[in-house]
Amino acid sequence: MSTLPSSPDTAHAQQPGPSHSPLHAPAPHESGLKHTSGEALYVDDLPSPPGMLVGHLVTSTHAHARILRRDASRARELPGVHAVLLAEDIPGDNQVGPVVHDEPLMAVDEVLFLGQTVALVLAENAAVARRAAALVEVEYEPLPALLSIKAAVDAGSFLTTPHVIGRGDPDAALAAAPVRISGECMTGAQDHFYLETQASLAVSGEDDTVHLWSSTQHPSEVQAIVAGVLGVGRHHVVVEVPRMGGGFGGKETQAAPFAALAALGARATGRPVKVWLNRDQDMAFTGKRHPFWGHYEAGLDSEGRLLALNVELVSDGGWSTDLSHAILDRALFHLDNAYFVPALRFTGRVARTNLPSNTAFRGFGGPQGMFVMEEVLNRAAELLGLDPAVVRERNYYREAPAQLTPYGQAVEGNRLPRIHAELMASSDYARRRAEIEAFNKGSRWTKRGIGFQPVKFGISFTTSFLNQAGALVVVYTDGSVQLNHGGTEMGQGLHTKMRAVCAHELGVPPERVRVMNTATDKVPNTSATAASSGSDLNGMAVKQACEVIRERLRPVAARLLQAERGGEVDALAFTGGRVFLPARPERSVSFAEVVHAAYLAQVSLSSTGYYRTPDISYDRVAGRGKPFHYYAFGAAVVEVEVSGLTGEHRVRRVDILHDVGTSLVPSIDRGQVEGAFIQGVGWLTCEEVLFDAKGRLVTHSPDTYKIPAVGDAPEDFRVALLERAPQDSTIHGSKAVGEPPFMLAIGAVTALRHAVAAFGPSRTPVELASPATPEAILRAVEVARAAGALPDGKD
């Protein structure tokens, strides 16, 4: 019998106070009713414009090959086919690389991964398009392909030069350390598996313009890439995002090629064109979370305190650069996680393979870096016979300036000691750990384990100039409001939060604010909605735009209320859809009346807003700087049960205490914490991306690729948000939440190791691969059991 997941702080979550502000209160999803009634429109749900064609990709069948011949003449003759386009049909640049220009939209003379686009078929429907695609002739001369990090390293195939961050003399410190641990570890790829696959609809208009509806986290980049491919100015391209059925980083750069193909098709045929990938295509053509290989040498004292750490990381970038640089940087920035290392050398490099180009995924390298550190601490605890939670606590950052991160930033406002104490108490960690030890002694085939995981995660794009955002707020004369901001909605609740910010600043009910589709003709030159920064950046821009309008309305309202004496104008309150002097609340005018009066008085009722994060920068060559505006903190206690017969496990209970500052909308932040944790457990335990020896993705559908389902969610899930924790210089004291809780799931690995170790004698070294699938766990259990086997073969 399972228990209902509890939510300790729902009961006393702050209700909207007398101020009627929608901030800091639970709120229904901005599109909630539309989602439950099926009315919410995603790109593929938009009504088909008349004459719409289907764009179908013809892709390479080799991981690496020279193209000897391409012939689309037979395909073009098929009735219902309007065009088959090849690279030479591109009017502008055949280039969609977002940072480094190493990604042709369509291959010309060489293919670099299995699934690379070679031709685009435009046909009346999908069935005809598929038949035509089979008639496109491409002749290949296969070339040797690099299909693993190891193969790439051996071949000297890299996408970047090494990035090094160092401090002190780690080699000397290692030599002097009483305890030394070294080893290798791998973390695997992870498919985004957003439920809505990649989709774009392009409609061309007058003067070579094109309007796109794209499922993308980065409309401005799609706009720029489409303009480049078409060879037109960016002012000829509008990209609009209704909403996404999930993004998780997979639609940050990788929506652009499909949008560019749709736009190219629309330009070539004069017809609207939709490019929609089915699940198998989506999984085969798009990049995933970067697999990372790590090698570490750690030195500790006998109580588990870190003295020195050398780590070398190599990630698998796939066939092109994409965002691999920045992802590797973030992995290096998060190798330390929450712990001070006196002497260190962290080196990272991106390998180039002949696999899909790996890309952003929730955490953006952070989880992969952190995993290495947690592996070191877990091994240290196992070796020293210490509670892994104690080892972690001993290594937390203390105050600056004595302790700085490897790149020299102070860990200001470190909340981990407080979170640690509160969560240890609320989760009853010590008692449960003792109970588990007792349970394991009495249970031969089923063992339990408990793991504690703290997280410190840096908030800001580490490419500093990206930390900017814009908004456009439009008030109509009836007092209703349209809100445009630069962020996209992918399920993270950004629109709900931005609407709350806007309603709060203007003092109107949220229902009077309509959040518009994100569009490049409303808010230009935006950064991706990524790096957990959506609310931080756009929220400030929205606030600023609203303030401009409110301050213009203030004198108008003062006249209406005859409250124009010294100080009264500035004292006017805008709240609950009314404007009044707090000292005389009985005399008020409605927001709509003020707006109408302002219109008659020829006062502008719209404004843009803009924000950039102050004081952040990073010098990559020196490996020093302040790349982050602040840090988000959290911790989890995870309890699992492992079957030694099948290798299967259950997550029995999870307690999380997470720091989101003063939550903008607690119901959303709780959902983000829960969802991120579950997704992290997927990465670490059940999601395994496999390619065959030819570089073909074997796990290209939910039949073969297992994301967490109902039964994988924790049976007892207790999530709390840290109380009384406002953050300085952020939007209303809140903190970013999208990514940090993902890494709390590493606690499941610590718990699994605890359970696996219990199959062997005390201090059994655990050899657990990642992801910890049942196969991996079973192998680890067998190794542990073998360590305990007596010479005569008995257990």
Partner: protein
């Protein structure tokens, strides 16, 4: 595993058009076609449809609609592309995610694994037909009140399964809810709130409507 494939469920959620029934049916006819062509010829089977589009009349959300459809069209494609009912989502198109869940005679079915022609003579309910006019189904309301969605893409399918459960068993337990949504994938990880919402709807007296 998912109720659709579990014979031990006393009242199967997919009594007639489960994935397995679909495969069994497809496999059986392929078998008879290859092994016993003569028997097949003697069989007074219904007239062969397709590959050209053929007229199809269906009852959808209480209305009778007639369309011309290719016999290979799935019910999911039909409602989305021919009828503009895009609330039914396609997440995998192979019966593995349940985003496309609709009701056939009040029982849940994966519309991507159901041929549109096989829905003849049955009452099809899609997410758009769940509310009675302006009155939301209690599960729809509870999903909003309990924030049981993030990106919302899996939500219509989840709502259809949970509503079917609450209608059939207003006294459902957490385990019943887990069973009912066990075939659904939600990448945003909204499972905890889906459980809460469905139980809230049941406790609030989700009224049983029987097979609508």
């Amino acid at each position: 595993m998912a109720p659709p494939d579990d014979d031990s469920v006393p009242k199967p959620l997919l009594p007639q058009l489960s994935r397995r029934a679909f495969f069994k049916g497809a496999g059986a006819s392929a078998l008879s076609a290859t092994l016993a062509p003569s028997a097949h010829a003697a069989d007074p089977s219904p007239p062969v449809l397709g590959p050209e589009p053929a007229p199809l009349t269906l009852s959808i959300n209480g209305r009778t609609v007639t369309v011309q459809a290719d016999p290979a069209t799935t019910l999911a494609e039909l409602v989305r592309n021919h009828l503009g009912l895009t609330g039914t989502k396609i997440g995998c198109d192979r019966g593995a995610c349940s985003a496309c869940t609709v009701w056939l005679d009040g029982e849940v079915a994966a519309s991507c694994m159901t041929l549109a022609f096989d829905a003849r003579g049955r009452k099809v309910t899609t997410i758009e037909g769940l509310a009675k006019g302006e009155a939301l189904h209690p599960v729809q309301r509870a999903f909003v009140e309990n924030d049981a969605m993030q990106c919302g893409f899996c939500t219509p399918g989840m709502v259809m399964s949970c509503a079917a459960l609450v209608d059939r068993n207003p006294k459902c337990t957490l385990d019943d809810v887990k069973q009912a949504v066990s075939g659904h994938l939600c990448r945003c990880g909204t499972y905890p709130n889906v459980f809460k919402a469905t139980l809230a709807a049941a406790q609030g007296g989700g009224k049983a409507k029987g097979n609508t």
